[in-house]
């Protein structure tokens, strides 16, 4: 059990160590409002990282989520301003995310193009596209859009509850749904999955669509926290999400990883920034430390894999 979740446990331990350090040095970090602030403002990253986990488990990558995020944010703002009822606004935004993800999925699964190139191309194209459409100007939000008219406190709880629900739902689905199994199988060995009667192309298309919808949801969760829809938001979001996934122990080569891992990865990377501010370390260190954490994570994967190979080989020799 411990061996199996070694990665999740060690990342969680690192996070706890960081929090303990803060508890001693700066106990005010743990004021309820501060913690909630951090989680609320970061929760959209978690939602995107959940989608990214599935994409990476299926042995793909999506670096275009940042521009999807920006577009969906603007779509949500525009719909709200046009007076569309709330459920329709949400449905419309999710649908636009699904379409954007579907384009990636079609290009990758249908035309067998490498996902890193496809999503790089869609990222650049869409970034320019939205700048052209909005003229780079933010879209002023309708007053009803902010916190969905619930007021800040209830709105914040809604954001947290939604992110938590998505995490639980997808963690459960990956383990218990047929589709989850298909994602793992496709990512481990697409040819073997195909031989077992799974359709890897459909699975890959599916994860990109889900990625798009989760990005749209993330855009709503982020958008309702501000007074305007920003067409330049979402920059660096793709890398943030990939970092959380990788630090959480999901293999970039697919087929191995859990959403619990992604969650602890997200918490560790998300807490570092605010923690540095509290510890009065210069903010520019944030990126450097995050980079170091990613390196350590990847290096420990490589070591771990070599070890497992050796064990496998010696077992196979008997």
């Amino acid at each position: 059990m411990i061996r199996r979740y070694l990665r999740e446990i060690s990342v969680a331990a690192a996070t706890v160590a960081l929090l303990l350090l803060l508890a001693v040095a700066k106990p005010q970090f743990f004021s309820g409002q501060n913690l909630r602030n951090i989680l609320v403002t970061q929760s959209y990253v978690l939602v995107v990282a959940i989608g990214m986990t599935m994409v990476i488990l299926a042995r793909q990558i999506d670096i275009s989520v940042g521009s999807h995020f920006a577009i969906c944010g603007v779509v949500a703002s525009l719909l709200a301003r046009a007076g569309v009822p709330l459920p329709l606004m949400i449905a419309g935004t999710l649908a636009s995310g699904a379409v954007l993800g579907g384009i990636n999925g079609l290009l990758v699964a249908g035309f067998r193009l490498p996902s890193i190139v496809v999503t790089l191309a869609t990222m650049v194209t869409l970034e320019q596209g939205i700048r052209w459409i909005t003229g780079g100007e933010p879209v002023r939000n309708a007053p009803t859009f902010q916190w969905l008219s619930l007021g800040q406190s209830a709105g914040e709880w809604l954001v947290l509850a939604t992110a938590a629900a998505v995490l639980v739902l997808f963690a459960w689905g990956l383990r218990r749904l047929q589709a989850g199994r298909a994602v793992y199988a496709t990512g481990s060995d697409p040819e073997a999955a195909r031989l077992a009667g799974i359709r890897p192309d459909r699975v890959i298309f599916g994860v990109f669509v889900v990625m798009g919808m989760l990005t749209a949801l993330a855009a709503i969760l982020n958008g309702i926290q501000s007074t305007q829809g920003d067409p330049t938001s979402g920059q660096g979001l793709g890398l943030q999400a990939i970092a959380a996934v990788v630090v959480g122990g999901t293999a970039i080569s697919g087929g191995r990883g859990t959403l619990i891992g992604t969650f602890v990865g997200f918490v560790l990377l998300g807490v570092i920034g605010p923690a540095l501010i509290f510890l009065q370390v210069e903010a520019s260190w944030e990126k450097a430390i995050q980079g170091a954490i990613i390196l350590v994570a990847v290096a420990s994967d490589a070591l771990n894999l070599r070890q497992r190979r050796n064990v496998g080989a010696s077992l196979a020799a008997h």
């Binding site: 218990r176 047929q178 481990s188 060995d189 031989l195 009667g197």
Partner: protein, 500 residues
């Protein structure tokens, strides 16, 4: 004095004895044929001579000098060059650059003398009578032209010994003669050639002497002219069937699968008509590359057929994807177990149920309890040695992985089970367990198509044996008719042995 002489070479991999005493010598100006069944050890021998594998015992002498610690670099510098079925060249570099890689040495700072390079390439190509522009990128050449570049490259490295492994396998008919001309030309220049081929006609046309390899041992070296074909075949297969197979007679039931003039242009199959009844084990024998795996892939919808018909229980069907084949009750355990039989990262339980996920779930939700039940029952039935069904399949030994691969397909309760080399590379104990299982399954009415390169296994387990050659069915032998010699004669295209 001989150019190359090997004696007493032995080599084993993980307990499997690939070579157990290989001795022969190669004279200057000789074409020396090396023949043997699949798995006789030819490829391993080549790798030992080129230094890719270190032998466990035995010695290699080149030009009379013993080579103690062989390595690819050393053997090349001593004048040994290997030419494989598929040329190993850099497709984006030009002919002269590729050839230069064979003989130029020196550091990375050395200046390139382009004119000398080109001249040398021209000269070497001229020596084997190949006419091509040295400035063409190799990727734009045809397969036979690339082979010529390989030969020129090895000559540039002053090769005295050429090892050719099935050099004509990927050549069209009219190019074969050109290759022969080059080999004869090199022979007259004193080059010794070790020539591996399954095509007996070629050997009689080309070789001076022949060495027969069987089960990792050299059984005979004879002048080519003094050995008749039937005797050559006998030398290749003349092995006692020592293993006892648990085969039992089963009264065959209805026809499960029938193919009529089945063909697939992409994989070179044509005119294949076979039928398998319930309870029957049909063996499929043939040399590597004869099209047996390709046939299995067609029957499983991996490379859909382009010609002919497939009938399942009398109904004509089209199999375009594996999932269609699964729906029709076909199961396929592929040859490449390490890569595609089991998914190494998934647990045994997940591997076992991978092909029945749909049946195992309601509304997409997996019945995990049922999954564990099924996985446990197969682990028990097949005696998979594992601490638990939750461990990743990659941690199991080869034989146990094969059992998990089998479990997955038995869980689909197929009507037709296609097994591609089901016991390749697994230990004796697991092997006989799998054989016993096959017999049980046949008795319960499953039709089994078994591809096997191991003749004793094919003979011992099959009710009938289909022999393939060059993408076609060369013949079908009943259990009573089938002997190692007859199967081999059909596989090699030597008609006299084929009574059926």
């Amino acid at each position: 004095m001989s150019l190359l002489s090997v004696s007493g070479i032995a080599k084993s991999f993980a307990g499997v004895q690939a070579l157990r005493g290989v001795s022969f010598d190669l004279h200057p100006g000789e074409v020396h044929a090396l023949v043997g069944e699949n798995g006789a050890g030819k490829s391993t021998l080549i790798k030992v001579i080129t230094g890719a594998h270190a032998p466990d015992s035995g010695s290699i002498e080149i030009d009379g000098h013993p080579v103690a610690h062989n390595s690819p670099l050393l053997s090349r510098s001593l004048g040994i060059a290997a030419i494989y079925q598929q040329p190993a060249l850099f497709p984006d570099l030009t002919v002269s650059e590729n050839i230069a890689l064979g003989f130029e040495s020196g550091g990375l700072w050395r200046l390139v003398d382009w004119r000398a390079r080109r001249a040398r390439a021209k000269e070497l190509l001229g020596r084997i009578g190949a006419r091509m522009d040295p400035e063409t990128p190799v990727g734009m050449l045809t397969m036979p032209e690339q082979q010529m570049v390989e030969i020129a490259k090895s000559l540039g490295g002053r090769a005295k010994v050429l090892l050719m492994d099935e050099p004509t396998a990927s050549l069209p008919e009219h190019e074969v003669e050109n290759l022969f001309r080059v080999v004869r030309e090199l022979r007259s220049q004193g080059v010794g050639t070790l020539y591996i081929s399954h095509r007996l006609d070629e050997l009689y046309a080309l070789a001076d002497r022949v060495t027969v390899l069987r089960d990792g041992q050299t059984v005979a070296t004879r002048p080519m002219k003094e050995v008749e074909r039937p005797e050559l075949i006998r030398l290749m297969v003349g092995r006692e069937i020592s293993a006892i197979f648990p085969k039992r007679e089963v009264t065959p039931g209805d026809v499960v699968l029938e193919t009529r003039r089945l063909g697939c242009r992409d994989s070179g199959l044509a005119e294949i008509s076979i039928s398998i009844r319930a309870g029957e084990i049909l063996g499929l024998a043939g040399l590597v590359g004869a099209g047996r795996t390709e046939l299995a892939r067609v029957l499983f919808g991996l490379t859909p057929a382009t010609d002919g018909e497939i009938l399942l229980a009398g109904t004509p069907v089209r199999l375009r994807t594996p999932s269609e084949a699964v729906d029709w009750g076909i199961a396929y355990v592929p040859e490449d177990r390490r890569r595609h039989g089991v998914i190494l990262e998934l647990s045994i339980a997940a591997n076992t149920t991978l092909a029945i996920l749909r049946r195992l779930s309601r509304g997409g939700l997996l019945d995990v309890a049922r999954e564990r039940e099924i996985a446990l029952s197969y682990v028990e039935a097949l005696a998979v040695k594992t601490p638990s069904i939750d461990v990743a399949a990659g941690t199991l030994s080869g034989g146990n992985q094969q059992k998990v691969a089998l479990s997955r397909w038995l869980a689909t309760e197929p009507k037709l089970l296609i097994l591609d080399e089901p016991t390749q590379g697994i230990d004796v104990g697991a092997k006989s367990e799998i054989h016993r299982l096959m017999v049980d399954l046949a008795e319960r009415g499953m039709a089994i198509l078994m591809i096997s390169s191991e003749l004793p296994e094919a003979l011992g387990m099959s009710d009938r044996i289909g022999v393939m050659r060059g993408g076609r069915l060369a013949g079908i032998l009943s259990r009573a008719e089938a002997t190692q010699e007859r199967v081999m004669a059909l596989a090699l295209g030597h008609a006299e042995g084929a009574a059926a």
